[in-house]
Protein backbone atom coordinates (compact mmCIF):
# COMPACT_ATOMS: atom_id res chain seq x y z
CA UNK A 1 0.00 0.00 0.00
CA UNK A 2 1.09 3.56 -0.59
CA UNK A 3 -0.05 6.68 1.25
CA UNK A 4 -1.18 9.59 -0.89
CA UNK A 5 -2.96 12.86 -0.32
CA UNK A 6 -5.00 14.59 -2.94
CA UNK A 7 -7.76 17.12 -3.27
CA UNK A 8 -10.96 15.89 -4.88
CA UNK A 9 -13.78 18.38 -5.42
CA UNK A 10 -12.13 20.86 -3.04
CA UNK A 11 -11.89 18.28 -0.24
CA UNK A 12 -8.58 16.91 1.03
CA UNK A 13 -8.26 13.13 1.14
CA UNK A 14 -5.43 11.23 2.78
CA UNK A 15 -5.74 7.62 1.73
CA UNK A 16 -3.74 4.45 1.60
CA UNK A 17 -4.09 2.83 -1.82
CA UNK A 18 -2.90 -0.32 -3.53
CA UNK A 19 0.08 0.16 -5.86
CA UNK A 20 -2.05 -1.41 -8.60
CA UNK A 21 -5.01 0.95 -8.30
CA UNK A 22 -5.93 3.31 -11.12
CA UNK A 23 -7.31 6.79 -10.49
CA UNK A 24 -10.77 5.76 -11.71
CA UNK A 25 -10.83 2.87 -9.21
CA UNK A 26 -9.81 5.22 -6.41
CA UNK A 27 -12.58 7.68 -7.30
CA UNK A 28 -15.33 5.11 -7.77
CA UNK A 29 -14.50 2.27 -5.41
CA UNK A 30 -12.66 3.99 -2.57
CA UNK A 31 -14.20 7.48 -2.53
CA UNK A 32 -17.64 6.43 -3.80
CA UNK A 33 -17.70 9.03 -6.57
CA UNK A 34 -19.49 6.89 -9.11
CA UNK A 35 -20.39 9.77 -11.42
CA UNK A 36 -17.14 9.05 -13.26
CA UNK A 37 -17.82 6.17 -15.67
CA UNK A 38 -15.54 3.51 -17.06
CA UNK A 39 -16.26 2.82 -20.72
CA UNK A 40 -13.48 1.27 -22.74
CA UNK A 41 -10.74 1.28 -20.10
CA UNK A 42 -8.11 2.20 -22.68
CA UNK A 43 -8.37 5.92 -23.33
CA UNK A 44 -10.54 5.75 -26.43
CA UNK A 45 -13.97 6.80 -25.16
CA UNK A 46 -13.43 9.58 -22.59
CA UNK A 47 -16.28 8.42 -20.29
CA UNK A 48 -13.81 8.43 -17.37
CA UNK A 49 -12.66 12.02 -18.00
CA UNK A 50 -11.88 14.11 -14.91
CA UNK A 51 -10.05 17.42 -14.59
CA UNK A 52 -6.64 16.90 -12.98
CA UNK A 53 -4.63 20.03 -12.12
CA UNK A 54 -6.64 22.07 -14.62
CA UNK A 55 -6.49 19.64 -17.54
CA UNK A 56 -8.75 16.83 -18.69
CA UNK A 57 -7.33 13.33 -18.32
CA UNK A 58 -8.68 9.83 -18.82
CA UNK A 59 -8.79 8.58 -15.23
CA UNK A 60 -8.50 4.98 -16.49
CA UNK A 61 -4.97 5.80 -17.72
CA UNK A 62 -3.66 7.42 -14.55
CA UNK A 63 -2.35 5.33 -11.65
CA UNK A 64 -3.80 6.36 -8.30
CA UNK A 65 -0.36 6.95 -6.77
CA UNK A 66 0.42 9.40 -9.58
CA UNK A 67 -2.40 11.62 -8.30
CA UNK A 68 -0.49 12.25 -5.07
CA UNK A 69 -0.56 16.02 -4.51
CA UNK A 70 -3.02 16.63 -7.35
CA UNK A 71 -6.22 18.61 -7.46
CA UNK A 72 -9.07 16.71 -9.07
CA UNK A 73 -12.52 17.74 -10.18
CA UNK A 74 -15.15 15.10 -10.93
CA UNK A 75 -18.72 15.59 -12.08
CA UNK A 76 -19.88 15.56 -8.43
CA UNK A 77 -17.80 18.70 -7.81
CA UNK A 78 -19.59 20.72 -10.50
CA UNK A 79 -22.52 21.36 -8.18
CA UNK A 80 -22.17 24.45 -5.98
CA UNK A 81 -24.45 25.12 -2.98
CA UNK A 82 -27.09 22.72 -4.21
CA UNK A 83 -27.14 24.26 -7.67
CA UNK A 84 -25.86 22.50 -10.76
CA UNK A 85 -23.27 24.21 -12.97
CA UNK A 86 -24.50 26.34 -15.91
CA UNK A 87 -22.87 23.82 -18.30
CA UNK A 88 -24.98 21.04 -16.78
CA UNK A 89 -28.10 23.22 -16.97
CA UNK A 90 -27.36 23.94 -20.63
CA UNK A 91 -26.97 20.21 -21.38
CA UNK A 92 -30.41 19.62 -19.84
CA UNK A 93 -32.07 22.59 -21.51
CA UNK A 94 -30.96 21.77 -25.07
CA UNK A 95 -31.64 18.04 -24.59
CA UNK A 96 -28.04 16.96 -25.07
CA UNK A 97 -28.46 13.96 -22.79
CA UNK A 98 -29.84 10.64 -23.93
CA UNK A 99 -28.50 7.52 -22.20
CA UNK A 100 -26.24 9.74 -20.12
CA UNK A 101 -23.19 7.47 -19.87
CA UNK A 102 -20.82 9.85 -21.68
CA UNK A 103 -22.23 13.00 -20.08
CA UNK A 104 -20.01 13.35 -16.97
CA UNK A 105 -16.91 13.21 -19.18
CA UNK A 106 -18.50 15.38 -21.85
CA UNK A 107 -19.44 18.07 -19.29
CA UNK A 108 -15.93 18.10 -17.81
CA UNK A 109 -14.32 18.39 -21.26
CA UNK A 110 -16.67 21.31 -21.96
CA UNK A 111 -15.68 22.91 -18.64
CA UNK A 112 -11.94 22.51 -19.28
CA UNK A 113 -12.41 24.08 -22.71
CA UNK A 114 -14.42 27.06 -21.44
CA UNK A 115 -11.99 27.61 -18.54
CA UNK A 116 -9.16 27.95 -21.05
CA UNK A 117 -11.14 29.67 -23.79
CA UNK A 118 -14.37 31.39 -22.70
CA UNK A 119 -15.47 32.15 -26.28
CA UNK A 120 -14.54 29.19 -28.46
CA UNK A 121 -15.56 28.83 -32.10
CA UNK A 122 -17.75 25.89 -33.17
CA UNK A 123 -14.64 24.08 -34.42
CA UNK A 124 -12.89 24.67 -31.12
CA UNK A 125 -15.90 23.24 -29.26
CA UNK A 126 -15.82 20.19 -31.56
CA UNK A 127 -12.15 19.73 -30.86
CA UNK A 128 -12.67 20.28 -27.14
CA UNK A 129 -15.06 17.33 -26.92
CA UNK A 130 -13.29 15.22 -29.56
CA UNK A 131 -11.93 12.88 -26.88
CA UNK A 132 -15.41 11.96 -25.69
CA UNK A 133 -17.42 9.45 -27.64
CA UNK A 134 -21.22 9.49 -27.58
CA UNK A 135 -23.19 6.74 -29.31
CA UNK A 136 -26.59 8.40 -28.89
CA UNK A 137 -26.69 12.00 -29.95
CA UNK A 138 -24.47 12.70 -32.94
CA UNK A 139 -22.72 15.49 -30.99
CA UNK A 140 -24.59 18.51 -32.38
CA UNK A 141 -26.62 18.88 -29.21
CA UNK A 142 -23.44 18.97 -27.12
CA UNK A 143 -22.12 21.78 -29.29
CA UNK A 144 -25.40 23.71 -28.83
CA UNK A 145 -25.15 22.99 -25.10
CA UNK A 146 -21.65 24.48 -24.95
CA UNK A 147 -22.90 27.60 -26.76
CA UNK A 148 -25.88 27.85 -24.43
CA UNK A 149 -23.57 27.40 -21.43
CA UNK A 150 -21.49 30.38 -22.57
CA UNK A 151 -24.68 32.50 -22.62
CA UNK A 152 -25.71 31.27 -19.17
CA UNK A 153 -22.32 31.99 -17.66
CA UNK A 154 -22.35 35.50 -19.08
CA UNK A 155 -25.81 36.11 -17.67
CA UNK A 156 -24.55 34.76 -14.34
CA UNK A 157 -27.30 32.16 -14.31
Amino acid sequence: MVNISLIVNEKLFEVSVSENLRLIDLLRDELGLIGTKEGCGEGECGACTVIMDGETVNSCLVMAFQANGSNILTIEGMEKEGKIHPIQQAYIDVGAVQCGFCIPGMVLSTKALLDKKPHPSKDEIREGISGNLCRCTGYNKMIYAAEKAIEYMEEGK
Binding site: E19, N20, E42, V57, V62, S130, G131
Partner: protein
Protein backbone atom coordinates in the same frame (compact mmCIF):
# COMPACT_ATOMS: atom_id res chain seq x y z
CA UNK B 1 -1.20 -5.87 -12.08
CA UNK B 2 1.72 -7.15 -10.08
CA UNK B 3 3.25 -4.03 -8.63
CA UNK B 4 5.01 -4.29 -5.29
CA UNK B 5 6.41 -0.80 -5.00
CA UNK B 6 5.85 2.59 -6.61
CA UNK B 7 7.86 5.80 -6.54
CA UNK B 8 6.93 9.42 -7.18
CA UNK B 9 10.31 10.64 -8.40
CA UNK B 10 11.36 14.25 -8.24
CA UNK B 11 14.74 14.15 -10.02
CA UNK B 12 16.49 12.36 -12.88
CA UNK B 13 19.28 11.48 -10.47
CA UNK B 14 16.82 9.59 -8.27
CA UNK B 15 15.33 7.76 -11.29
CA UNK B 16 18.75 6.76 -12.58
CA UNK B 17 19.59 5.38 -9.13
CA UNK B 18 16.36 3.37 -8.93
CA UNK B 19 16.80 2.01 -12.46
CA UNK B 20 20.38 1.08 -11.62
CA UNK B 21 19.13 -0.87 -8.63
CA UNK B 22 16.07 -2.59 -10.08
CA UNK B 23 16.85 -2.77 -13.84
CA UNK B 24 14.32 -4.86 -15.74
CA UNK B 25 12.07 -5.28 -12.68
CA UNK B 26 11.22 -1.58 -12.92
CA UNK B 27 9.27 0.43 -15.48
CA UNK B 28 8.94 4.18 -15.90
CA UNK B 29 5.54 5.82 -16.17
CA UNK B 30 4.79 9.37 -17.22
CA UNK B 31 1.54 10.08 -19.13
CA UNK B 32 0.55 6.44 -18.74
CA UNK B 33 -1.52 6.46 -21.93
CA UNK B 34 0.04 3.22 -23.18
CA UNK B 35 1.61 1.61 -20.14
CA UNK B 36 -1.48 1.58 -17.89
CA UNK B 37 -3.31 -0.48 -20.52
CA UNK B 38 -0.34 -2.87 -20.78
CA UNK B 39 -0.25 -3.19 -16.99
CA UNK B 40 -3.97 -3.83 -16.80
CA UNK B 41 -3.84 -6.49 -19.51
CA UNK B 42 -0.72 -8.03 -17.90
CA UNK B 43 1.21 -7.56 -21.12
CA UNK B 44 4.01 -6.34 -18.89
CA UNK B 45 4.43 -7.35 -15.25
CA UNK B 46 7.00 -5.10 -13.57
CA UNK B 47 7.40 -5.16 -9.78
CA UNK B 48 8.39 -1.52 -9.53
CA UNK B 49 6.78 1.50 -11.17
CA UNK B 50 8.53 4.87 -11.15
CA UNK B 51 6.45 7.97 -11.89
CA UNK B 52 8.50 10.58 -13.72
CA UNK B 53 5.61 12.89 -14.68
CA UNK B 54 6.37 15.48 -12.00
CA UNK B 55 10.12 15.86 -12.57
CA UNK B 56 10.56 19.57 -13.33
CA UNK B 57 13.82 19.19 -15.27
CA UNK B 58 12.07 16.87 -17.77
CA UNK B 59 9.20 19.32 -18.35
CA UNK B 60 11.20 22.19 -19.86
CA UNK B 61 11.25 23.49 -23.41
CA UNK B 62 14.56 25.31 -23.82
CA UNK B 63 16.27 27.06 -26.67
CA UNK B 64 19.77 28.33 -27.23
CA UNK B 65 21.07 30.23 -30.22
CA UNK B 66 21.03 27.22 -32.56
CA UNK B 67 18.93 24.53 -30.90
CA UNK B 68 15.56 23.72 -29.44
CA UNK B 69 15.68 21.26 -26.56
CA UNK B 70 12.59 19.41 -25.39
CA UNK B 71 12.54 17.68 -22.02
CA UNK B 72 11.28 14.13 -22.47
CA UNK B 73 8.37 14.85 -20.12
CA UNK B 74 6.96 17.65 -22.29
CA UNK B 75 3.37 16.80 -23.23
CA UNK B 76 1.81 17.06 -26.68
CA UNK B 77 -0.49 19.80 -25.38
CA UNK B 78 2.54 21.80 -24.20
CA UNK B 79 4.04 21.54 -27.69
CA UNK B 80 0.83 22.50 -29.49
CA UNK B 81 0.36 25.54 -27.24
CA UNK B 82 3.94 26.78 -27.64
CA UNK B 83 4.46 29.48 -30.31
CA UNK B 84 7.97 28.07 -31.02
CA UNK B 85 6.32 25.29 -33.01
CA UNK B 86 4.27 27.47 -35.31
CA UNK B 87 5.92 29.06 -38.35
CA UNK B 88 8.32 26.82 -40.21
CA UNK B 89 8.21 24.14 -37.49
CA UNK B 90 4.47 23.81 -38.13
CA UNK B 91 4.90 20.13 -39.07
CA UNK B 92 5.77 19.22 -35.48
CA UNK B 93 2.81 21.20 -34.15
CA UNK B 94 0.52 19.46 -36.62
CA UNK B 95 1.79 15.99 -35.73
CA UNK B 96 1.37 16.59 -32.00
CA UNK B 97 -2.08 18.07 -32.54
CA UNK B 98 -3.13 14.84 -34.28
CA UNK B 99 -2.18 12.62 -31.37
CA UNK B 100 -5.18 10.82 -29.82
CA UNK B 101 -7.52 13.28 -28.14
CA UNK B 102 -7.25 16.33 -25.85
CA UNK B 103 -7.10 14.00 -22.82
CA UNK B 104 -4.30 11.91 -24.38
CA UNK B 105 -2.37 15.02 -25.47
CA UNK B 106 -2.64 16.48 -21.96
CA UNK B 107 -0.90 13.45 -20.51
CA UNK B 108 1.14 11.83 -23.30
CA UNK B 109 4.77 12.91 -23.55
CA UNK B 110 7.25 13.20 -26.36
CA UNK B 111 9.73 10.96 -24.49
CA UNK B 112 7.05 8.33 -24.01
CA UNK B 113 6.23 8.41 -27.70
CA UNK B 114 9.87 7.53 -28.38
CA UNK B 115 10.42 5.04 -25.55
CA UNK B 116 7.24 3.15 -26.35
CA UNK B 117 8.72 2.48 -29.79
CA UNK B 118 5.51 2.28 -31.82
CA UNK B 119 5.96 2.38 -35.57
CA UNK B 120 2.88 4.63 -35.77
CA UNK B 121 3.94 7.22 -33.14
CA UNK B 122 2.82 10.58 -34.54
CA UNK B 123 5.54 12.86 -33.22
CA UNK B 124 8.48 10.73 -34.38
CA UNK B 125 8.59 11.29 -38.18
CA UNK B 126 8.85 15.10 -37.81
CA UNK B 127 11.55 14.74 -35.17
CA UNK B 128 13.50 12.30 -37.36
CA UNK B 129 13.13 14.68 -40.31
CA UNK B 130 14.57 17.42 -38.06
CA UNK B 131 17.58 15.21 -37.34
CA UNK B 132 16.74 15.13 -33.61
CA UNK B 133 19.28 13.77 -31.16
CA UNK B 134 18.09 12.10 -27.99
CA UNK B 135 19.93 12.18 -24.69
CA UNK B 136 19.82 9.00 -22.62
CA UNK B 137 20.99 8.73 -19.00
CA UNK B 138 21.87 5.77 -16.83
CA UNK B 139 24.02 5.00 -13.85
CA UNK B 140 26.84 4.32 -16.32
CA UNK B 141 26.66 7.83 -17.74
CA UNK B 142 25.07 9.74 -20.59
CA UNK B 143 24.88 8.93 -24.29
CA UNK B 144 23.44 10.85 -27.22
CA UNK B 145 22.13 9.12 -30.32
CA UNK B 146 20.26 10.26 -33.43
CA UNK B 147 16.56 9.49 -33.00
CA UNK B 148 16.56 7.64 -36.33
CA UNK B 149 19.03 5.11 -34.86
CA UNK B 150 17.00 4.62 -31.69
CA UNK B 151 14.86 1.87 -33.15
CA UNK B 152 17.83 -0.37 -33.87
CA UNK B 153 19.56 0.52 -30.61
CA UNK B 154 16.77 0.76 -28.05
CA UNK B 155 16.81 1.69 -24.39
CA UNK B 156 18.45 -0.65 -21.92
CA UNK B 157 16.47 -1.45 -18.80
CA UNK B 158 18.56 0.94 -16.70
CA UNK B 159 18.21 3.94 -19.03
CA UNK B 160 15.91 6.97 -19.26
CA UNK B 161 15.47 9.40 -22.15
CA UNK B 162 15.89 12.91 -20.78
CA UNK B 163 16.08 15.28 -23.77
CA UNK B 164 15.31 15.59 -27.45
CA UNK B 165 17.35 18.22 -29.25
CA UNK B 166 17.31 19.56 -32.80
CA UNK B 167 18.73 22.50 -34.73
CA UNK B 168 16.58 25.55 -35.33
CA UNK B 169 15.45 26.04 -38.90
CA UNK B 170 16.52 28.87 -41.16
CA UNK B 171 13.98 30.90 -43.11
CA UNK B 172 14.33 28.76 -46.25
CA UNK B 173 13.53 25.54 -44.39
CA UNK B 174 10.05 24.22 -43.74
CA UNK B 175 8.79 21.18 -41.91
CA UNK B 176 5.55 19.54 -43.02
CA UNK B 177 3.54 16.59 -41.78
CA UNK B 178 0.61 14.59 -43.13
CA UNK B 179 -1.14 11.62 -41.59
CA UNK B 180 -3.75 9.12 -42.60
CA UNK B 181 -5.90 7.97 -39.68
CA UNK B 182 -9.22 6.16 -39.79
CA UNK B 183 -10.95 9.30 -38.55
CA UNK B 184 -10.01 12.73 -37.25
CA UNK B 185 -9.83 12.18 -33.49
CA UNK B 186 -8.66 9.20 -31.47
CA UNK B 187 -7.13 7.50 -34.49
CA UNK B 188 -3.82 5.71 -34.56
CA UNK B 189 -1.86 6.55 -37.71
CA UNK B 190 -2.28 4.17 -40.59
CA UNK B 191 0.63 5.98 -42.12
CA UNK B 192 2.32 9.34 -41.81
CA UNK B 193 5.02 11.35 -43.54
CA UNK B 194 7.11 14.28 -42.37
CA UNK B 195 9.35 16.29 -44.66
CA UNK B 196 11.92 18.98 -44.06
CA UNK B 197 12.82 20.87 -47.19
CA UNK B 198 15.19 23.76 -47.79
CA UNK B 199 14.71 25.65 -51.01
CA UNK B 200 17.50 27.74 -52.53
CA UNK B 201 17.22 31.13 -54.23
CA UNK B 202 16.24 29.51 -57.53
CA UNK B 203 13.46 27.52 -55.89
CA UNK B 204 15.33 24.21 -56.14
CA UNK B 205 15.49 21.73 -53.29
CA UNK B 206 18.82 22.32 -51.60
CA UNK B 207 18.35 19.97 -48.64
CA UNK B 208 15.66 17.43 -47.89
CA UNK B 209 14.86 14.85 -45.25
CA UNK B 210 11.74 12.71 -45.47
CA UNK B 211 10.64 10.41 -42.68
CA UNK B 212 7.73 7.99 -42.52
CA UNK B 213 5.64 6.42 -39.78
CA UNK B 214 3.95 3.01 -40.00
CA UNK B 215 5.56 2.21 -43.37
CA UNK B 216 7.90 -0.32 -41.80
CA UNK B 217 8.79 -1.90 -38.49
CA UNK B 218 9.65 1.51 -37.08
CA UNK B 219 9.62 5.17 -38.18
CA UNK B 220 12.45 5.72 -40.68
CA UNK B 221 14.12 8.04 -43.19
CA UNK B 222 12.99 7.60 -46.79
CA UNK B 223 16.43 8.10 -48.33
CA UNK B 224 15.53 7.04 -51.86
CA UNK B 225 12.86 9.75 -52.03
CA UNK B 226 15.33 12.26 -50.62
CA UNK B 227 17.93 11.33 -53.25
CA UNK B 228 15.34 11.73 -55.98
CA UNK B 229 14.16 15.15 -54.78
CA UNK B 230 17.53 16.82 -54.24
CA UNK B 231 18.20 19.67 -56.68
CA UNK B 232 14.72 19.32 -58.21
CA UNK B 233 12.09 21.98 -58.44
CA UNK B 234 9.04 21.09 -56.41
CA UNK B 235 6.10 20.83 -58.79
CA UNK B 236 3.30 18.42 -59.73
CA UNK B 237 5.59 16.28 -61.90
CA UNK B 238 8.37 15.86 -59.36
CA UNK B 239 5.80 15.09 -56.65
CA UNK B 240 4.28 12.27 -58.76
CA UNK B 241 7.78 10.92 -59.49
CA UNK B 242 8.65 11.03 -55.78
CA UNK B 243 5.50 9.01 -55.04
CA UNK B 244 6.62 6.31 -57.51
CA UNK B 245 10.07 6.20 -55.89
CA UNK B 246 8.49 5.75 -52.46
CA UNK B 247 6.11 3.05 -53.70
CA UNK B 248 8.98 1.11 -55.25
CA UNK B 249 10.95 1.19 -52.04
CA UNK B 250 7.84 0.07 -50.10
CA UNK B 251 7.39 -2.87 -52.49
CA UNK B 252 10.76 -4.15 -51.31
CA UNK B 253 10.29 -3.42 -47.63
CA UNK B 254 6.72 -4.63 -47.18
CA UNK B 255 6.92 -7.59 -49.58
CA UNK B 256 4.33 -10.24 -48.75
CA UNK B 257 2.50 -8.10 -46.21
CA UNK B 258 -1.28 -8.00 -46.51
CA UNK B 259 -1.31 -4.23 -45.96
CA UNK B 260 1.01 -3.46 -48.89
CA UNK B 261 -1.62 -3.00 -51.65
CA UNK B 262 -3.57 -0.61 -49.39
CA UNK B 263 -0.56 1.34 -48.15
CA UNK B 264 0.81 1.62 -51.67
CA UNK B 265 -2.26 3.56 -52.78
CA UNK B 266 -2.76 5.43 -49.51
CA UNK B 267 0.83 6.65 -49.37
CA UNK B 268 0.43 8.51 -52.66
CA UNK B 269 -2.17 10.91 -51.32
CA UNK B 270 -0.29 11.44 -48.05
CA UNK B 271 3.03 12.23 -49.75
CA UNK B 272 1.21 14.41 -52.30
CA UNK B 273 -0.62 16.32 -49.53
CA UNK B 274 2.64 16.76 -47.68
CA UNK B 275 4.77 17.97 -50.61
CA UNK B 276 2.08 20.19 -52.13
CA UNK B 277 2.41 22.42 -49.07
CA UNK B 278 5.87 23.35 -50.36
CA UNK B 279 4.45 24.53 -53.68
CA UNK B 280 2.26 26.85 -51.64
CA UNK B 281 5.11 28.07 -49.46
CA UNK B 282 7.21 28.65 -52.55
CA UNK B 283 4.64 30.82 -54.25
CA UNK B 284 2.97 32.72 -51.45
CA UNK B 285 3.73 34.27 -48.11
CA UNK B 286 3.20 31.70 -45.38
CA UNK B 287 -0.26 32.06 -43.97
CA UNK B 288 0.25 30.20 -40.71
Amino acid sequence: MTLKEVYNSRSVEEVVGLLGEYGSEAKLISGGTDIVIELKNKKITPKILIDISKIEELKKIKEDENHIILGSGVTFTEITENPLFKGNLHGLHKACKMVGSPQIRNKGTIGGNIANGSSAADSIPPLIALGAIIKICSIEGTREIPLEDYYINKLKSNEIITEIKFEKLNKNQNLNFAKLGLRKALAISRLSIASLIELNEEGLIENVTISSGALGKYPMREKEVEEYLINKEINETTIEEAITVLQNSMDERLKGRSTLPYKRVAVSSILRENLKEFIKTRTEVRAW
